[in-house]
């Protein structure tokens, strides 16, 4: 089965760009335009990976990340944060909130694709303490 990726991003054109790129790579892509719907979708769909924008209306990406980590169902979910905020402090905040990786806009497409593939393989997740290789189903 195709891996399922949830994209939480409020800018429609960025969302479309990510969706198309990921679909080209053969992923199943779900999209939502804000944090609240993102949390709901993450719980109900349990995707294999979440791509999360930082600047979201209402609850922002940091908060979404924090909440996903706080709930047992989604605590181990690989999260890739994307943001136009390029300052080191923002990246640090993202990682502190529990994101597995942080990519700034504009990203280099092959790099983004490679990162996602690595995270889905468990390479990204393996870096985290006490987690190890989570995927046993293959």
């Amino acid at each position: 089965m195709n891996k399922k990726i949830l994209v939480i991003e409020d800018d429609p054109s960025t969302l479309r760009l990510i969706k198309y790129t990921l679909q080209q790579e053969g992923y199943e892509v779900l999209t939502v335009p804000n944090g609240l719907e993102g949390l709901r979708k993450a719980r109900s769909e349990l995707p294999d990976l979440v791509i999360l924008d930082v600047m979201l209306p209402g609850i922002d990406g940091f908060e979404v990340c924090h909440q996903l980590r706080a709930e047992s169902q989604t605590a181990q979910l690989p999260i890739l944060m994307i943001s136009g905020k390029t300052r080191g402090i923002d990246k640090a905040t993202g990682l502190k909130m529990g994101a597995d990786d942080y990519v700034t806009k504009p990203w280099h497409r092959p790099e983004l694709v490679a990162k996602i593939a690595a995270m889905l393989d468990g390479n990204g997740v393996a870096l985290k303490a006490n987690c190890g290789r989570g995927s046993t189903g293959e």
């Binding site: 429609p12 198309y20 790129t21 209306p57 136009g84 504009p106 497409r109």
Partner: protein, 372 residues
């Protein structure tokens, strides 16, 4: 100054205290007295005094010993030493330790008043300078935040343009209908960049006083309709319906069509940005009391009371607009445009219910002869 200025007299000689109090009260100052250094410190702990008059010889300590504790409690307080001729040397030394001035006993009233006035004047200047510096710092902070916002706002559309262009150039989009879709995204995002850059030019014209409007007779209904039309696709993407309620009977006005259209674009773009899906944006127009009034109402997230007074200030952005994007220029430029027409612009809002931004332009109806 708004409040009465306070003077603390620290002297163990009661008759000096009494007569100074009388004189100062007459001049409109508020006075408190202290007979000892300890007493003075207690009194200054509780409240601020603009000026302290300190006798250099106090029963429990040297008057100069009061300087450090008083200055520590109130760095802005002016301390004037009262000294006998014999201890002028001490008083002069006090000047190097932070006293503002000294006066000698026997006291000459004019000299006392002049010293106090001088101290107060200096205090006022220092305060004014502090405020001006604070305002500058705030403006500086807003400007650098603005630059960072603008960079972000420029980067987002540019990022989309580059991303889609690359996909197309690299042949990753074989289907013609998707090619077309992506080209139209690129087109829209370039327009967004254009609007942003126009806004920056407007700002620079406004700042340098070169902002001008060119009036001509026009139908406001057409201007509004065209602006609304340009938002149809954005609105429908977000599931928002824009309804127009503008009577065909509305008289023509003298206005700069392009500028008024720019205001409409700003108001509509805000209304859509801050609306959530499936809601409506209503554009209303009408003539009333010699004015043409246009209103743009959304059922969006609303604006907090704290934010309301700042809406039309340049660079100002509400908490929510930080997440939703924006430069803090739209409403500022809109206000400048409307005011350049002799009109006014205002907003009403309720958090969670929505916002109405209205503007009124003077109607110079037929009868007022056009000057040619």
């Amino acid at each position: 100054m708004d409040e009465k200025e306070n003077i603390l007299i620290i002297d163990d000689d009661e008759s000096t205290c009494r007569s100074l109090t009388l004189i100062f009260n007459k001049k409109g100052y508020e006075v408190e007295t202290a007979g000892t250094g300890r007493d003075a410190i207690d009194k200054a702990q509780g409240r601020f005094f603009n000026v302290a008059l300190v006798d250099i010889k106090l029963p429990d300590m040297e008057g100069t010993a009061l300087l450090p504790p008083l200055k520590e409690m109130h760095p802005e307080m002016a301390v004037i030493m009262i000294t006998a001729y014999a201890s002028v040397e001490n008083a002069v030394r006090a000047l190097t330790e932070g006293a503002s001035a000294y006066i000698t006993k026997p006291l000459n009233i004019d000299e006392v008043l002049a010293a106090v006035r001088g101290a107060l004047d200096k205090q006022r200047l220092v305060e004014e300078k502090r405020r001006a510096e604070e305002a500058l710092r705030e403006l500086d902070r807003m400007k650098s935040e603005f630059v960072s916002n603008v960079s972000h706002e420029l980067r987002s559309p540019l990022h989309a343009i580059r991303g889609f262009t690359k996909l197309l150039l690299e042949g990753k989009v074989p289907q013609p209908e998707i090619q077309r879709e992506f080209l139209s995204v690129i087109d829209k995002q370039s327009q967004r960049l254009g609007v942003l850059i126009d806004g920056l030019f407007d700002l620079s014209r406004l700042e340098s006083g070169r902002f001008q409007i060119q009036k001509q007779r026009l139908s406001i209904r057409d201007v509004i309709h065209k602006a609304v039309e340009s938002f149809y696709s954005l609105a429908s993407d977000k599931g928002i319906v824009i309804s127009e309620d503008i009577p065909a009977t509305l008289p023509e006005i003298e206005a700069d069509g392009e500028r008024i259209s720019q205001v409409m674009v700003n108001l509509l773009s805000n209304a859509i940005k801050f609306s959530n899906g499936g809601r409506s944006v209503i554009v209303k127009g009408g003539a009333k009391d010699g004015e043409l009034v246009v209103q743009v109402t959304d059922r969006g997230i609303g604006i907090t009371k704290e934010a309301m007074p700042h809406l039309f200030e340049r660079f100002y952005r509400t908490e929510d607009s930080m997440a939703r994007g924006g430069t803090g220029l739209g409403l500022y430029i809109s206000r400048q445009i409307i005011e350049a027409h002799g009109g006014r612009i205002w907003a009403e809002s309720k958090v969670g219910k929505g916002t109405t931004v209205s503007f009124a332009l003077p109607l110079n109806e037929v009868g007022s002869v056009s000057h040619e």
